[in-house]
Amino acid sequence: MSESIRIRPPLSDDTVVRLAAGDRVLISGIIYSARDAAHQRLVEQIRENRPLPVELDGQIIYYVGPTPPKPGMPIGAAGPTTSYRMDPYAPILIERGLKGMIGKGLRGDAVIEAMKRHKAVYFAATGGAGALISKTIQRAEVVAYEDLGTEAIRRLEVEAFPAIVVVDAHGNDLYREGRLKYRRG
């Protein structure tokens, strides 16, 4: 299997268009956590023309609601949550400059269209590998919506966070292609 590609946000369009479905990546630097409730709030703020608590330009959002950290650790288990629940909000964030999303599971057509139009990429992390992934997170700090608890937006400093490009900025979808390759009967 090919080597992993190392990437570091903010991602430029140039980097994004070169990533292809099936590529394995190791992400280092800053990514932001957000799931259902945080997405709802971000989109409300965009609709009401209010400033956002984090600038999305070139950034990667990780769909995760971690467990509370054990004493002395930055974060608890932190694997991806299922992405389709963020589909109603994702195109609006992509239009606002978001370049990457990390989650697991299928994305809707509207999200993929927005990714193609504005050049963004969808990565999958391994669902259910929460303990393993937590080891790649060096620091975690709540930066918005603290009242949401596990659903608050956290600024995560990661080192060699393992993910795989599932949907690239050209609309190729590894979920579709991978399955066809191994289907029988």
Binding site: G76, G127, G128, G130, A131, L132, G185
Partner: protein
């Protein structure tokens, strides 16, 4: 026969311990299933995922970090011996107190909330509790934290008898196909056939408590399990839905007599993070 007294505080203590163990120690059956899958998976990405999952289980066990951040809604099956007298308080309150303590002390995520206001109760209570009276003077506690990536992909259907076994198979396999990568494959597929709507659902959930690799004692049901497993693995969904040979680690079927006019079928999907622990008091 004497009546055996068990203080409900004992139940609290056991539930607390099982919550922490279930979330951090993957059962030997699940570890063995992941190892066996790694040996046969043809997809390089798929093999990489099996390696990650085995490593994950190792880190979780040795460091006490939850296997998965979705530490679930706690489902508790209680089998209470008829000769037991529970003392010192309310049984369900005792179970919920165990969940509260386990989730607090184990640094586990509180995911339960009011279904309408969406307000989180903050301590992962209440559990979903199923209680059954059985012979004897023991209490068996089986506990399964259920993640909702897979729960959300589950379904119940009530078919006319003309659907037959082929119809049942089509429904079950179709459910796994439609769920694709969402329930964190490789999955364990729990199937309940018969009874009423809620009985089928309950059977499908109960079937997930069985150790992976163990077949149903009825040979006809065992055969159905293996046929379903083969059909599901032919879907090609693979580990994490990225393509591969192993889509399901196992299929468990439980049945119950039903009405002449129906075939109730429930499919309860369980991710590879097949957490369940039990204790007998």
């Amino acid at each position: 026969m004497d009546v055996r007294e068990i203080p409900v505080a004992k139940i609290t203590e056991v539930v607390r311990r099982l919550c922490i163990e279930a979330n951090t120690i993957l059962g030997d059956d699940a570890v063995a299933a992941l190892e066996a899958s790694l040996a046969v998976e043809e997809s390089p990405v798929g093999r990489d995922i099996f390696r990650q999952l085995l490593r994950n289980a190792e880190i979780a066990r040795t460091e006490g970090i939850p296997l998965c951040q979705d530490t679930g809604v706690v489902v508790v099956f209680l089998e209470i011996g008829q000769d037991v007298h529970l003392t010192g308080g309310d049984l369900e309150a005792a179970v919920n107190e165990g969940v509260r303590q386990g989730y607090r002390d184990g640094c586990l995520r509180a995911s339960t909330l009011d279904p309408l206001t969406r307000k989180n109760f903050g301590d992962n209570t209440p559990a979903v509790i199923h209680t059954r009276l059985v012979r004897g003077d023991r209490v068996k506690v089986a506990l399964a934290p259920k993640g909702f990536g897979s729960e959300n992909m589950s379904q119940v259907a009530l078919f006319p008898p003309s659907h037959g076994i082929e119809g049942i198979k089509k429904f079950v396999v179709g459910r796994v196909d439609a769920a694709g990568p969402n329930p964190c494959p490789p999955v364990v597929v729990g199937v309940g056939i018969g009874g009423t709507m809620e009985k089928a659902a309950l059977l499908s959930k109960q079937s997930l408590l069985r150790d992976l690799g163990r077949r149903h004692p009825d040979p006809a049901v065992a055969r159905l399990e293996l046929e379903l497993l083969e059909d599901i693995n032919n879907l090609g969904i693979g580990p994490q839905g990225l393509g591969g040979r192993i889509t399901a680690l196992d299929v468990h079927v439980e049945t119950y007599p039903t009405h002449i006019a129906s075939i109730p079928v429930a499919v309860n999907l369980q991710c590879h993070c097949a957490r369940h622990k039990e204790a007998v008091i």
